[in-house]
């Protein structure tokens, strides 16, 4: 059984962004694993552990089962995104795939196509799947609910459409069904308006977009980091993966043509006095300047 986790290499939210060449950012800043993807990796690791523990009744021993459940971190990005794939492996992914691109930014249509191609290629690899020949497709693909840099909120849905798998996003609770080994169903809850929850029953294979609060992300220990260094990251290139499929979407695309720093031109004014004077002044601002009362 293969569990994939799609991860993205994004600028640290605290980094200072500098615009370069009209629509690029200066990339000499800290990049890291997208925070929402940490929940995705953690949930994949939790699922693997859970399945191994509860699979004891099966004829296979735990060790053998462990080999049969594999977590693969996949990322699309420039060569430095290898660091983010490595971070996912430190958290518990068994191996990684990096789809290397020249441009840092790819739109979500291209990204989803490339992720699909890479995942399919990995699953058609007979050596990796020889134990269970029917498992030619991924069981679950985890992603974060959105990336903090682009905030496109859509790649997981496109990936689902390309695979024809059901998709749920902003998942805050995930559990295999009690009869999972028979029905291959999972029960998930998504966060909705006003803190509500929608509960879905989904048959695998499926795509799960992890939301905040799904779990507490794993913090890798030093031995985890050392172990992850030895694991394989396979490098693919975007152009090889998408050969022949570039032009079949009728020019549908999004392209960043201009990027400007969002200027904050606020000059703070102090409001002084006793509580009642300050309150009067604030109410005056609400009334006269903001016109909200």
């Amino acid at each position: 059984m293969k569990i994939f986790v799609c991860v993205k290499h994004v600028p640290d939210s605290a980094a200072t962004i500098v615009v370069r060449d009209k629509n690029q950012i200066d990339d000499k800043i800290t990049f890291l694993l997208n925070p929402y993807d940490e929940y995705a990796v953690t949930e994949a690791v939790k699922l693997k552990k859970n399945l191994i523990q509860n699979g004891a009744s099966s004829s296979l021993g735990q060790a053998q089962q462990s080999n049969q459940i594999e977590i693969i971190a996949v990322s699309l990005g420039t060569s430095d995104a290898e660091k983010t794939v490595r971070s996912a492996m430190e958290m518990g992914a068994d191996r990684g795939i990096l789809i290397k691109t020249d441009d840092r930014h790819q739109d979500s249509i291209t990204t989803a196509k490339a992720l699909k191609a890479a995942i399919e290629q990995d699953c058609s690899n007979q050596v990796a799947c020889e134990d269970q020949s029917k498992e030619q497709e991924p069981a679950i693909i985890f992603t974060g609910r959105e990336s903090i840099d682009m905030g496109g909120m859509q790649t997981m849905f496109r990936l689902g459409a390309y695979f024809n798998f059901p998709v749920v996003n902003n998942v805050v609770k995930f559990a295999p069904d009690v009869n999972f080994s028979v029905n291959r169903k999972v029960i998930v809850e998504t966060l909705t308006e006003g803190g509500g929850r929608d509960v879905y029953e989904i048959t695998l294979p499926c795509i799960i977009g992890a939301g905040r609060g799904l779990n507490t992300p794993i913090y890798p220990t030093f031995p985890d980091v050392v172990k992850a260094r030895k694991r394989e990251i396979k490098i693919l290139t975007l152009s090889d993966l998408l050969k022949g499929s570039e032009s079949d979407n009728k020019g549908a695309k999004t392209e960043i043509i201009d990027l400007e720093l969002f200027a904050e031109k606020r000059t703070p004014k102090s409001i002084k006095g006793n509580a009642s004077q300050i309150a009067k002044e604030i109410v005056k601002i609400l009334k006269e300047e903001a016109k909200v009362i």
Binding site: P11, S13, A14, I17, V19, D107, I148, D149, G151, G152, M153, Q154, F157, R158, G160, A161, P166, N169, T192, E193, G194, G195, G196, R197, D198, V199, Y200, E201, I202, T203, C206, K250, G251, A252, K253, T254, I256, I257, D258, L259, E260, L261, F262, E264, R266, K269, S270, I271, A275, S276, I278, A279, K280, I282, I285, L286, E289, A290, V292, I293
Partner: protein, 380 residues
Amino acid sequence: MKKTAVIIETKDGVIKEANYGMITCAAKDNNSELYAFIINEEVEPFKAHLKKHGIDKIVDISIPIDSDNHENQRSYEKSFNPILWSDALTQALTTYEISSLFALTTPIGKELLPRIAAQLEAPLVMDCLDVVKNSDNSCNDNNVCNSNNSSYLNSDFHLAKTSLYSGKTIATVKVTGDIRLFGIRPNAIEPSIKLSISKPKIENQDNQDQDQQGSFNIESSIIIEKFIAKNRYAQKSKIKLIESKKGDSSGNDLVAADVIISGGRAMKNSENFKILQDCADAIENLGVSSTAVGASRVAVDLGWVPYRMQVGQTGEKVNPKVYIACGVSGSIQHFAGMKMSKIIIAINENINAAIMSNCNYFVEADLFEIVPAITKELKR
């Protein structure tokens, strides 16, 4: 003629105020017919408001629960179901040959737009602050339109403005394709006409008055089309919505509020958030603005308030007219969610807090003295 559609969000049978800014944005394209897609609602009461904002046609969409074709005894899905709704909208989009679709970047919009975009393999930009069609002259102040991009002017495209990199930059995104989708950030665009205040009850009265005054004209000029979608998910689907646990719908939507009062670490506990709510209620009771209480991440992480109240990088991105930050330090991640606020008022005992040097007004004082004083002053 090209056709543009907007997905209308309602709450308790009333059109949410945030829709009007989105309609204003979609209506800027004069060369396009404007459709309003409304699912599972009584559309008659909406006609006047929608017409005034420039809607030409209403498509009244309903979704049968079963996929059989017993037209007569059919029952319909009432509550929101992302899977069924997005599929119904995709069908309507194709049937009416819509080339641009607008919706709000709300929890509902975040479910519907990406699902539709994925089904149609259409481009989508979420959380837009503005969208213009290339043929539109309204982008004069936008250097993208008249600078070195003359080659773009000959082709057909949209330009969407959205904030990227944790709110630190504003990007102009060129969007091409047969069908284009846009998620509009609530409150980002000022409606062309301010029809009424946000109180649903008063809006209803307002609505009735207008209907009485001009009902003949309005009814003759807005067309309502009924659209019954096919339910393609009813049987043995791989995904089933088995339960909807409703959230707390008593308060106002944070993302759509005109005024937000937020509390941070200095709130000390859950109970103290009541003083912020009291102040918000006092503003709300003056009847002009919708007001909501927000929080910083630390207040959520400490369990004082639910996650849905969090403003910031990993919470809600808000655009209020006034943001009052009470005991909020103002981390970069908090700013990522509220920096588009028109006026920021910071109340903090610590003059060195980051927010005090990046706001419009700051008060160096104890919030537990100032906030109740504001509430008292508002009630006077």
